[in-house]
Amino acid sequence: MESILFYAFALLAIGSALLLVNLKNIARALFLFFIVLFAMAGLYLFALADFVAITQIMVYVGGVLILMLFAFMLSNKELLKDLQDSSGSFLSMPKWQAIPLALGFLLLMIYGIMEWQQSIPTWIQLSFENNTQIVATDNNIQQIGLRFMTFYVLPFEVISIFLMMALIGASHLSRKERNR
């Protein structure tokens, strides 16, 4: 049952990502991106990362996707061009050079994974032996909160400041210039 659900989510993610790449209409592609993000959040659940999955849905679907839709609609000259360009074809014909590059990279990574399986790192083997994996009954959110405030307090503060800098920079970049 568990693996059937996993394969369903994986197929949903990969399939809609493939369709996303080949669609011509950007609005449809962005909504397919939404489906990919949901399926990825589902996959995180199978790695028992429930908090990461919820954060993914909140941050990506609530923030990033809305921003992308706004940017798409604000650059609407492209939208009209896209609608005019679609001369009968539903799928767009991308640059062919990208296909062998991406496929080659995929083959390289699959080969790397297969090679890697022969020598699993010792810390993973230790966690198998000592039975210290995360299990489904753990209280993940409490543990993550504790780690954030103890082990990882410096990265946490750094990333807070980084996020604030990025937001100030974004609002500065997208301001209206008066004297032009």
């Binding site: 921003l67 994996q133 780690r147």
Partner: protein, 102 residues
């Protein structure tokens, strides 16, 4: 039983689709979508490895950090895209070939 390899293969596929999007699309917004796909593949790897790390929860916590970084990147990237559109009336990266004001 879902092993680590399953996660790794799925995330390799998603990463390559993101790479393909970045290389082949002629629209800056779709290129940002491709970058997001690649970041998502990386986060999937983070949480898949994090399952075996109960002591420090490194995988999940750095997955969260990666989500924050991706959100910041998208905010700045879309602001730049809008500015570029205001200057050039296009967001095709192939046609944007000068940094100077006209």
């Amino acid at each position: 039983m879902i092993t680590l390899t399953h996660f790794l293969v799925v995330s390799a596929c998603i990463f390559c689709i993101g790479l393909y999007t970045v290389l082949s699309k002629k629209n800056a917004i779709m290129i940002l979508v491709g970058i997001e796909l690649m970041i998502n593949a990386a986060i999937l790897n983070f949480v898949a490895f994090g399952k075996y790390d109960k002591i420090s929860y490194g995988g999940q916590i750095f997955g969260l950090f990666a989500i924050v970084l991706a959100a910041a990147a998208v905010a700045v990237g879309l602001a730049i895209v809008l500015n570029v559109y205001r200057h050039y009336q296009t967001i095709n990266p192939d046609e944007i070939n000068e940094l100077k004001d006209k």
